[in-house]
C-alpha cells in the first residue's frame, strides 16, 4: 500500500485536485442554497419590466463560486431583452455593487463568489418587449437547485387601464387603483411550471381565468 501511494502519489494528487476543481468551479454539487426570491413585474402596453431579488447562502465552511445563467423567457412575441442589469443588493433591493456579466451566444452568465457562511442578495432587472399582451416569468429553473424555495414573493403590477386576463398562479391579494397590483406568496415552493400571465383592455379582459 505504501508502495502504491508512494509511486502513485502524483495520480492521487491529480484526482484530488480534479475533485477540488469540480467542487469549486462547476457547481455540480451545489453547497450554495437558493432559498428566497422576490419578483416584481410591471406590465405596460408592449412592455414588461422585471425586478428580481434572489437570496443565496453558503452554509459550507468552504468558499464557493456560483456560476449562474440568466434565463430570459423568449419566444416569437417576446424578444430577448437588451436592457438588463445584475448587481449585489441589500434585502430591500438597494444596489450595492454591479456584477459583471458575460454573454455566450444568447446566454447571459455571471459569477457570484461567496465566502464561507456568507449570504448575498442578487438583484436582476430587465425590460422586455411584449408584442402580445402576455408575459412569462421563468420559475422552473428553481428545480435545478434540487430543493424547494423557502419563500417566494411574486407581484404583478398592471399599468393604467389594464386588466388581468389570466394567470396560472392564483393571486393571494389584489390592490385596485389605476394601477392594479396582484401578488402571491409561496413557501416551500418547488415550481412545476413557469408563471404566465396575460392582460388586456377592460372591455376585452375576462375575469381572471385559467388559475390553478
Amino acid at each position: 500500500m505504501r508502495n502504491f501511494t508512494g509511486r502513485n502519489s502524483d495520480l492521487l494528487l491529480a484526482v484530488g485536485l480534479v475533485g477540488v476543481a469540480i467542487y469549486a468551479g462547476c457547481n455540480v454539487f451545489p453547497q450554495v442554497r437558493f432559498d428566497r426570491e422576490r419578483i416584481e413585474i410591471w406590465a405596460a402596453p408592449q412592455q414588461i419590466q422585471v425586478s428580481g431579488l434572489y437570496h443565496y447562502s453558503n452554509p459550507s465552511f468552504l468558499p464557493a463560486l456560483l456560476s449562474l445563467g440568466l434565463p430570459f423567457p423568449v419566444d416569437a412575441q417576446h424578444p430577448r431583452p437588451s436592457t438588463y442589469s445584475i448587481a449585489t443588493a441589500t434585502e430591500d433591493g438597494r444596489i450595492v455593487a454591479p456584477i459583471h456579466s458575460s454573454e455566450r451566444g444568447s446566454e447571459v452568465r455571471f459569477c457570484v463568489p461567496l465566502l464561507p457562511r456568507e449570504e448575498k442578495w442578487v438583484r436582476v432587472d430587465y425590460v422586455q418587449r411584449a408584442n402580445v399582451p402576455s408575459g412569462t416569468y421563468i420559475l422552473v429553473t428553481t428545480r435545478e437547485w434540487r430543493r424547494p424555495l423557502r419563500h417566494g414573493d411574486y407581484i404583478l403590477h398592471l399599468g393604467s387601464g389594464l386588466e388581468l386576463a389570466s394567470t396560472n398562479y392564483r393571486p393571494d391579494a389584489m390592490v385596485a387603483g389605476r394601477l392594479k397590483t396582484y401578488s402571491f406568496a409561496k413557501t416551500d415552493f418547488y415550481p412545476g411550471e413557469d408563471w404566465t400571465f396575460a392582460w388586456g383592455e377592460p372591455a376585452r379582459a375576462s375575469s381572471a381565468g385559467g388559475e390553478k
Binding site: L13, V18, A21, E40, L65, T83, E91, G93, R109, S183
Partner: protein
C-alpha cells in the same frame, strides 16, 4: 516522480481548472499590452547596457520563456488568478533592472536599469487599474429605470386616490407622502427623494423632471444624464487605463448615457441623445420603448 514534475502537474491542473471559473473579469487591452511590453523592455535594456547572459541564464532560457509566456496567458483571465503571474512578472522585471545596474557597462546602465524597473511597476499598476475600470453607466441606468417606475406608480396611486382623478406635480406627491416603493412594499427610494427631484439634484447620475398637463390627465417624467458620457471605447494604449481612471475620478457619480421617459401609459422609453438637455413630451413620445 520528481518534485519538478509534481509542481508542473499541480500548476497545469490549477491553471486549467481555475481559468474558466475566474475568467469573467478580463483586463482592458492596454493592461495586458503593458504587461507584455515588460519583456521587450527588459531585453532591449539588457542589450543597451551591454549585459552578457550568464551560462545559467542561457541554460534555463527556454523554461523561463515558457513560464513567463504562460504567466501572460493566465493574466489575460483577470481577477484573482492573475495574482501569481503578476508576482512572477514583477520579480522578472525588477530582477532584470537590478542585473542591468549591477552587470551593465557604461554610466547609462543605472538609468537603463531604473527605467526597466519603473516600466515593470508601471505596467503592473496599469494592469491592476485596467481590471477595475467599470463604467457606472449600467448601474445608473438601472437605478433610473427603477426610480421612473416608482414615480409613475406614485402618480397612478395618487390619481386613483384623489377625488378629481388627476395626476400630481412633484410637490403634490411629496406633500401627499406618496411612497416610492418596490419589492413587496419595501422602500426602494425613500420619500426624501422628492426633494432631490424637486431641486434638480443629481440622483445616480440623472436629473429628473415631472410635468403634468393643464387638465391633469397626462404626465411625463424624464430623466436625463447630468453629464453625458459616450460609450467607453476599449483602452488599447499602455497607460490608457491610468489616464481614464484619473480623468473619471471625480466624474463617476454624475455620468449617464441614455435619457429616459415614462408617461401615464407606464411604458418606459429611452434614447441616446448624445448630449444632456430637457426633453419635451412630443420628443419623448417618439422614442422607442425600452426593450
Amino acid at each position: 516522480m520528481k518534485f519538478r514534475r509534481k509542481a508542473e502537474l499541480i500548476f497545469w491542473m490549477v491553471t486549467l481548472s481555475a481559468l474558466p471559473a475566474w475568467a469573467n473579469n478580463p483586463p482592458q487591452p492596454d493592461g495586458l499590452f503593458s504587461l507584455i511590453l515588460i519583456f521587450p523592455v527588459a531585453i532591449f535594456g539588457y542589450r543597451l547596457a551591454g549585459v552578457a547572459y550568464t551560462e545559467r541564464q542561457r541554460k534555463w532560457r527556454v523554461a523561463r520563456g515558457l513560464a513567463l509566456g504562460l504567466a501572460v496567458l493566465i493574466s489575460a483571465a483577470g481577477t484573482g488568478i492573475a495574482a501569481i503571474p503578476l508576482l512572477l512578472m514583477l520579480i522578472y522585471g525588477c530582477l532584470r533592472g537590478v542585473q542591468i545596474i549591477l552587470r551593465g557597462q557604461g554610466p547609462k546602465r543605472v538609468l537603463i536599469g531604473a527605467a526597466v524597473c519603473l516600466w515593470t511597476l508601471f505596467a503592473i499598476s496599469d494592469y491592476l487599474v485596467s481590471l477595475n475600470i467599470r463604467s457606472p453607466v449600467a448601474v445608473h441606468e438601472s437605478s433610473t429605470i427603477s426610480r421612473l417606475r416608482f414615480l409613475a406608480q406614485a402618480e397612478d396611486t395618487y390619481a386613483s386616490n384623489s377625488a378629481l382623478k388627476k395626476y400630481a406635480t412633484l410637490e403634490q406627491l411629496r406633500d401627499a407622502r406618496m411612497p416610492l416603493q418596490g419589492f413587496a412594499g419595501g422602500s426602494n427610494g425613500d420619500s426624501g427623494a422628492y426633494d432631490s427631484y424637486l431641486h434638480g439634484a443629481v440622483v445616480s447620475g440623472y436629473r429628473y423632471r415631472l410635468t403634468v398637463d393643464a387638465s391633469g390627465g397626462k404626465f411625463l417624467i424624464t430623466a436625463v444624464p447630468a453629464d453625458y458620457v459616450a460609450e467607453v471605447a476599449a483602452l488599447r494604449i499602455p497607460g490608457a487605463s491610468w489616464l481614464h481612471a484619473l480623468r473619471q475620478r471625480h466624474a463617476q457619480d454624475n455620468v449617464g448615457r441614455r435619457s429616459f421617459a415614462v408617461d401615464e401609459s407606464g411604458v418606459i422609453r429611452a434614447a441616446d441623445l448624445g448630449t444632456t438637455r430637457p426633453v419635451t413630451r412630443e420628443e419623448a413620445g417618439k422614442w422607442p420603448p425600452l426593450q
